[in-house]
Structure formats: structure tokens, C-alpha cells
Symmetry: none
Subunit: 413 residues, 2 copies
């Protein structure tokens, strides 16, 4: 633990205060004036009609902008959310294999090694002729994964879990002792080459060496199972990584935390830090209703809303505005049972003009009895630029929420 | 020394420029709209009539907000001031015993160990029956301290200093070689238990072990002295800590520094870093007059004003407004002999609505020939949110003041 985290731990007081962190995925956006993009003088958040957010702002809120990881760094969902959960995304790096497994709803333990895998086509000489096996349909992928699962349950003392994804994609998880990533990919990254060997990235790591042997053994067991297949007679592995040991949310912050997310990836990320997944709700209204129902059972609620990001990725300005307005329409369900501390933000920006995640600081809104008021009219990127929270690293949001819940003693006399 | 401090040192140029740091204690505040608090759409600084600050702003100032220690951390006066003096408050931690001793005007040297102490009541079996000895009057405390002082001047080669405080409180200082804190408290923290033993917090520290033995010996010598007392026949010690070795202000910044404070605590904190205490002035007008008189004798003046914090702690909005206005009325004394660099800020926020210190960033005003102007009308929290200094850690203010005094060479070519 670093010195500052130690200090936070030392000053921690459990107050039983309730808090909610609402993540409007990819919320942040940019106004565009250049001719390169459709011109939008307002961001989607500025263009949206948000009577309920406006009402909340009028109750007294502090706004600011958060750098998701570091200046100029565009985060994936993993680092974006880890930061929001108060974990330094540079200190706690979660490999792609693990993220992919979480996205498919596989539950991992610290030390488990996961890899993304693709079915591929091999010729008679073992040369990769199609890295995606002609994008076989998902049903075929499921069938082949079931076949592999049936034949390969263990390698030595290591349990093997295989989980089908969409089209040619699946994940492989190795649950055993003494394993560690990252390893190099077996994907040669272009056709015309044989399957590569997964190699340790650190020559000193005996655990990586063991994991490399395990993957070689897995290939030895799995390729014969696929032998009869015409298209998907091989597979490539990427992002071989282990789940790092992450201090649990409850230990770190002294709060029981619940995750109200619809998509498996976000449930998985919440579970990484030990939050309790609450299953069932499929819409933001249902998520907020469930928050009200579970209010007494947890101190912290992570509520994830995907559609702002989806619209941003599609470059669909109108859809992003609509997603924000849909969220706003549901918000009163929570406002009628307001937590002591409420934060509304994104895990990063997904500007419509860029059709993808970006590094732009996401706006954040913080409301509590002692958040103070910036005297702003609305929650927007431009307003947040002038907010009392200033620009800060996303990993500190949770600490600010704790401070607003009076969860820290004074430091020094 | 860390890399950045090393760089500052390397680039340092003594220019003989004059600077003043005016600390309006607990200046920062919040606007409150929620029904939980009395509603104040303006902060005290915004509500106050401050013609002289307004005049200063019109001359060209840069404003900003400062995080006193780290996001969400509420500092006591010690860390708050160390940061303003340019010392990282996480790197230079000063224990409670030391702060208490400073507050009672005791002069400490690096390595001296200080502890807060309370008189308490013990029954015949040595069990604590009242941890505060019925809050004996201050006169009684002084009498008992005088008694202890007379009987215990030294333990082995270690000098013992005893200084009475208010009611049942006093401090004990051990001046000797090879001592170190922190030790655990002898206060059992509740009645019905015997006095605890002060133990080292690090098993490896021979100095802590020696200090623990010293405290045991002090008890052995002191308890018999109190034996005849009915109420205050024992005492409990807390916050046993040593004064850390802190590089002096003059060595670090190349400026002779003077402290113009009224309250002992702030004089003590200034003395910790080797500032010269100037005794005498009792009001802010007298402090500023003295600044004018001493202008030629120092390069740096730390001027401390307590009443903003006091009003905040009392939750007295009107009194905080008045304290700011009283300061503003005295300000022309200094403005008539303006230093080259002037900073006006707080050591932290003390929002009236919270009746105590808080983590909210304090506003800061910086004026020099090259501070630039934010084109703001007044010095306020809301204005400071938009200021050219942005949000930054308080420990950098002194470096900014030095830069404004042209005390740094260019870094690199």
C-alpha cells in the first residue's frame, strides 16, 4: 500500500452513510467546430433536456473534470472502472484475457490465468490461413467449446475452463497454483505463419514458465479434438494474463458494495474488487428501483448505464442525447431515496465525433450535504470546467465521496 | 530530498525580493443550498464587503484553489501550515504531542519527544476512574505541574520539561539523545482499566525502546508526587512523538523568514521550520504594522490571522464575514508597503455549515508584478475556480511565490 492509501486507511471511520456512484459509460464528449466532424456547438450532455439532473444541481452540487488515468491516456473499460472504484489503474493492471473472461461472465479468483482465444483455420502444414476461421457463427463456436470442455477438464493439477463468446471468440481460464501472466500471444498476427508459442515475458518468473508449459500442453490436448473440423481446426490465444490480487472494496473502504449493472463486463469488474453482483434489472429504471429495495443492505451502490457509450461508439449524437435523457427520466426513482453522497460521471469520454473511447476528462457531479454548491445551472462539460472540484484524477473520486460521507478523521492536530 | 525539491534547489537564485504569505485560517467555505444547513447562496468571502481586497484584485492577481494535503483529507493546523510553508505534509509528519507542545509555546529541538498528558483519577487499585480528573481548574493543573517540575528535572541524562495547559491538560517533553516516537498511548481510552504502558510502534527501533523505558521511569517518579491528591492522583499520556528533523526555511528557500502570529500554535509551527518569531502584535493591524517595521530585516513574512477559523468552527457565518471584513480593513497597512509577492489564502477550509476543518480546497490569491491577471472582480471561491492558478497542491504555493519573485533560473536550455 502506498503512503497515501495508508493514510486514508488510518483515518477511516465507518459512518454507515449511503452512497451511489452512477456511471454513465463514456459520458464525456466534446463540442466540435472543425470541419472534420459534424459540427456540434454543444456536447450531448449540454444538448440533452435533463430536468432531473438540473433539479439536482439546484440542490447544491460540486462539479469537476476527471482524468481517467493520466493525461492523454485513453482507457478501456477496465482501467476506467478501476479508477472510479478508487484503485490506481497503473498499479492494478488487469490483462485483456481477464477482462474478456469477466465480460463473458466467468468468475475468476486471484492467480487464475485467462486468455482470449479465436478459432482459426490451419492448413495441412499447420500454417494459419484464416485467423478468424471465417467468423464462424456463434452457435458453431458454442458447439466447439462444448467439445473442448468435454475432453479437457484438467491439465495436471490445473482446472481448465472454456467459455464461448461471439462468433469465433472464446476464452480459456486456467485455475491452479503457481500460475502467472503475462505471456506472449500464440497469435502470429498475420496469416501464413504457424501458431506461435506462448512465452514468458519475464525470464525470471518460474510461474510464467509453468504457465507457458501449461499452454503448450493445452494445445497438445486441444488441437486433436478439432482435427476433423474444416474451418475451425485451430485456435490462437492473446492477452494471456492472471487476475491480480486486488484488495477488496469492503476492506479498503469499509463499505459493503453492490453492483447494479446489466452487462457482464461491468459486473465482472465490480466483482474483481469484491462487490456483490445484484442480478435481475435490465433497464436503468429497474436498476434504480432495485437500488431503492436494497438500500438497507449496502453502503455503496455502483450503478452502470451502458447506452451513452454505445451511442458514442456509433458516432450517433442524437442517440447519445436520447440515452442521457432516458437516464434523466429514470433518475427521480433514486432522488426519492437520495443517498448521503451521490456521484454521477462516466468511466471515460466517448466523443461521438471520435466513435470511440478518448482521453478527454469526463465531467463529474458530486452531491452531498457538504458538497457545497458551484452555483451552476446544469451538469455539463463546460460547467464542470468551472466547478469547485477542479480537474483531478478519477482514482480520487471515491476518496472525495468518502470525505463527503465524513468517513475520514482529521489528519494531524 | 526528492527529485523535484532537488531541482528547485539547483535553480534557486537569491534575489532579495520581499514576500508575504497571509494565512486567513480556515478561510475556505462552501455555498450551501441543501436543507440540512442554514442556506447560504454565497460563501463568507463572497458575502463580505472587501474594498481593499477588491482593489488588490483590480491591480492584477492570479487566483486558484489549493488541495491542502490530498483529495478528501481534512488537515489539522500542523499539516495545513507545513504545506503552506512548502513542505510535503505527508513527508514531514508532526505528532500530536509535538503540536500540543508548540501550542503551549514550548520550544522544541529536532529529536525531542513530546506527549500530551491529562491528569486523571485513580482508585486504590490503580484503576482509572475518571480520565479527566473531573476537569480540574487550570490553576490546579498549574499547581500540580509546578510540583512535578520541582521534583522531576531529569531522568538519567534526559531533561524533562512539564508545561501546564488548560483544565486537566499538560504536556511533557523529554530532551535527550537517542529518543524517538511514536509510542502507544498510556491512556486506556476508557475508565475501569489501569494506566497502559507506552510501547514502541516499531519493534526495530532501539530509540523507541529507550523512549518507552524513559516514560516508564517518568511514571515511577511522578505518580508518588501526586499520591496525596484526591482527584488528580494520576495522569495519562497520548500522542507521544518526536520532533522530526525538518530542513530550515532559510536553507530550503534562501530567505530569512519572520512569523507574525498571535497564537502560540502558529508561532510553534513557524519555529518548526526555523522562522523567527516576532512577539508583540496582538491584532491584525498591529501585525501588519510590524511587518512594515521589519520590512528590511526579512525576505519572507508569514502573517497568521485566526478569527476566520474561529468563526467557522463556531458555525457563525456573520462572524466569519466580519472577520474577513476586519482583515480587509487592516490590509491597506501592508498594501502601502507592498511586498514583491503577496499571497493570501487559508491553511484549509472551515465551512460554517460543518463547524470544523474540511477537505474543500481553499481559495488562494497571488499578486506580483508578473502574477498576471485573471480579470476577475473579486477574490472568492467561485472566482478562484476559474483562476489562472487552477487547482493545485498547497505545498506548491511557496514555489509559485518564489517563481513570482524570479528566484528560479530557467530549467534546461
Amino acid at each position: 500500500m502506498n503512503q497515501l492509501d495508508e493514510l486514508y486507511s488510518k483515518l477511516l471511520v465507518k459512518t454507515g452513510a449511503k452512497m451511489a456512484l452512477i456511471v454513465l459509460d463514456g459520458l464525456g464528449d466534446i463540442a466540435t467546430r472543425t470541419p472534420d466532424h459534424p459540427q456540434h456547438e454543444l456536447t450531448p450532455l449540454e444538448a440533452a433536456t435533463t430536468p432531473n439532473l438540473d433539479w439536482l444541481v439546484a440542490q447544491g452540487c460540486a462539479q469537476g473534470r476527471m482524468t481517467p488515468v493520466a493525461p492523454g491516456i485513453t482507457p478501456g473499460s477496465g482501467p476506467g472502472h478501476l479508477a472510479l472504484f478508487g484503485y490506481d489503474p497503473l498499479e492494478y493492471q488487469v490483462g485483456r484475457g481477464v477482462i474478456e473472461a469477466l465480460g463473458l461472465g466467468v468468475e475468476l479468483k486471484a492467480g487464475d490465468v485467462a486468455a482470449r482465444a479465436n478459432f482459426c483455420t490451419l492448413n495441412a502444414k499447420g500454417i494459419v490461413t484464416d485467423r478468424r476461421a471465417g467468423r464462424i457463427p456463434t452457435e458453431k463456436c458454442e458447439e466447439l467449446c462444448a467439445l473442448l470442455k468435454k475432453k479437457i477438464k484438467k491439465i495436471g493439477d490445473t482446472e481448465v475452463i472454456i467459455q464461448a463468446g461471439k462468433e469465433h471468440r472464446f476464452v480459456v481460464i486456467f485455475c491452479g497454483k503457481g500460475l502467472e501472466g503475462p505471456l506472449t500471444d500464440t497469435d502470429p498476427n498475420r496469416e501464413g505463419l504457424p501458431i506461435a508459442t506462448a512465452k514468458p515475458t519475464s525470464a525470471k518468473s518460474a510461474k510464467q514458465k509453468k504457465t507457458a508449459k501449461l499452454i503448450a500442453a493445452f494445445y497438445k490436448a486441444a488441437l486433436p479434438v478439432l482435427k476433423g473440423q474444416k474451418v475451425a481446426n485451430g485456435f490462437l490465444m492473446r492477452g494471456v494474463a492472471h487476475q491480480p490480487a486486488i484488495p477488496t472494496f469492503e476492506n479498503r473502504y469499509g463499505m459493503r458494495a453492490a453492483c447494479l449493472a446489466v452487462y457482464p463486463m461491468y459486473k465482472g469488474l465490480a466483482q474483481l474488487v469484491g462487490m456483490k453482483k445484484i442480478e435481475g434489472p435490465q433497464t436503468i429504471a429497474e436498476q434504480l428501483e432495485r437500488y431503492v429495495k436494497e438500500f438497507d443492505n449496502y453502503e455503496f451502490f455502483f450503478i452502470h448505464y451502458k447506452y451513452t457509450d454505445k451511442a458514442g461508439e456509433d458516432g450517433n449524437f442524437a442517440a447519445k442525447v436520447k440515452a442521457i435523457e432516458d437516464f434523466d427520466a429514470a433518475l427521480p426513482i433514486l432522488l426519492n431515496k437520495r443517498p448521503d453522497v451521490l456521484a454521477i460521471t462516466g468511466d471515460h469520454s466517448t466523443p461521438c465525433a471520435m466513435k470511440g473511447h478518448s482521453w478527454h476528462p469526463q465531467p463529474v457531479l458530486l452531491h452531498s450535504a457538504c458538497s457545497g454548491s458551484d452555483k451552476l445551472q446544469r451538469f455539463t462539460e463546460t460547467g464542470a470546467n468551472q466547478g469547485g472540484l477542479g480537474h483531478f484524477e478519477a482514482k480520487y473520486l471515491l476518496r472525495l465521496m468518502q470525505a463527503n460521507a465524513k468517513m475520514f478523521d482529521k489528519f494531524g492536530a
